[in-house]
Point group: C2
Chain length 221, copies 2
Amino acid sequence: MTSSRSKIPRATVKRLSLYLRELESRHNQNQKTINSKQLGDVLSLTDAQVRKDLAYFGQFGYPGVGYRILELIENLRRILGTDRKWNAVVIGAGNIGRAIMAYQRFRQKGFEVVAVLDNDRSVVGQVISGHHVRPMSDLNDLVQQRDVKIGILAVPAPVAQEVADQLIEAGVQGILNFAPVRLDVHDAVGITSVDFSVALEQLAFQISLGVTGSLEEENDQ
Amino acid sequence: MTSSRSKIPRATVKRLSLYLRELESRHNQNQKTINSKQLGDVLSLTDAQVRKDLAYFGQFGYPGVGYRILELIENLRRILGTDRKWNAVVIGAGNIGRAIMAYQRFRQKGFEVVAVLDNDRSVVGQVISGHHVRPMSDLNDLVQQRDVKIGILAVPAPVAQEVADQLIEAGVQGILNFAPVRLDVHDAVGITSVDFSVALEQLAFQISLGVTGSLEEENDQ
DNA sequence: CGTTGTGAAATGATTCACAGCT
DNA sequence: AGCTGTGAATCATTTCACAACG
């Protein structure tokens, strides 16, 4: 292993996901290789950016050729950790919880929902996307027995912190948070948040600027 | 108007939403003022960062006092464009579409869903969150008659670009995209994307690093 | 050739530190 | 006295440009 140990910008990690998405699409169309210019163009990035991002993690390219798509896909999956299986529990059987459970792509990425929990008596026992909704009291046993690494938090904002604490107490290593609050957790736990309101506000801002104004960067897709 | 015309970093705009979220929470607890240190602490930012972000848009603070919460909320809403009403259509009556329609917070932020469209015959006519699902052929009339400014795209990836084109053709000014593809649109249209898979991959990466590694920045919440 | 990987330069964002306001 | 707004300094990221490679 010769991999150099320099600091990896967070923005680079976000782009890795986007590279992977594009590469998978090209792979499905049977394309075999791609160069940094082509890959950059679809994401509105420079070729140098693409090369530098990838070079943080190793030497994947072939001078004069570019990158072999399949090989790069495998490398990116390994780097991102989606070449493994991650068991997850969904907390909250409301609309967002249901949408998540039905989202096929999660499984494709290696994330397996092993249970849905909710502490609302009126939903416990219902079947959603093939899972019986279980009471929150099952959490600890589930995490132990099914080796659950990820909690997907789809509960109302006011209880999100409390439930996050329970998840961490139970032993999950990461939380995907859909509640519009910032969770306060210690550093050993990974957190990624998806906040629809923030997304909408970003959009409203772009539209409000309209012809009026000027943001320097382009779309945050 | 004395507002200085400097470049606004995109990261600043994203933080504006987070400031607003925190301010609204404090306002509900009846807090009247807040200073840049307090506001920065909850988001793990420096006080200077907070002040600089806000100063891009005007002078909102009172030396010796801080910021008056209600006043700052109003200013941020105006800046973000959520002090206005935006009519929106949801395209796609699948799980994500349903979750969005049921998401109360959208309306609180000034976004009004005036219709759901889908071109799957088997769902057209169904009622979802109080709206009849209408056929895609109604799109143009709807956008005209209801002054629709925003399209919320909750369709499968393979048709996302095509539907985006239809939305723009019909006259929407912004698209909130839930499909895991990059949309290619001309600059006059605002785009914000929410990709669950990207979020999960970011999380997987954080966990994979685990004790192992070190990203420089902390949580992207 | 064409294209990578990478130092060096340029650009951009954050933090420091302090004058000035209330 | 306490806190803002902001130039100057620091730190991070992106782009340039080119040697090295298949």
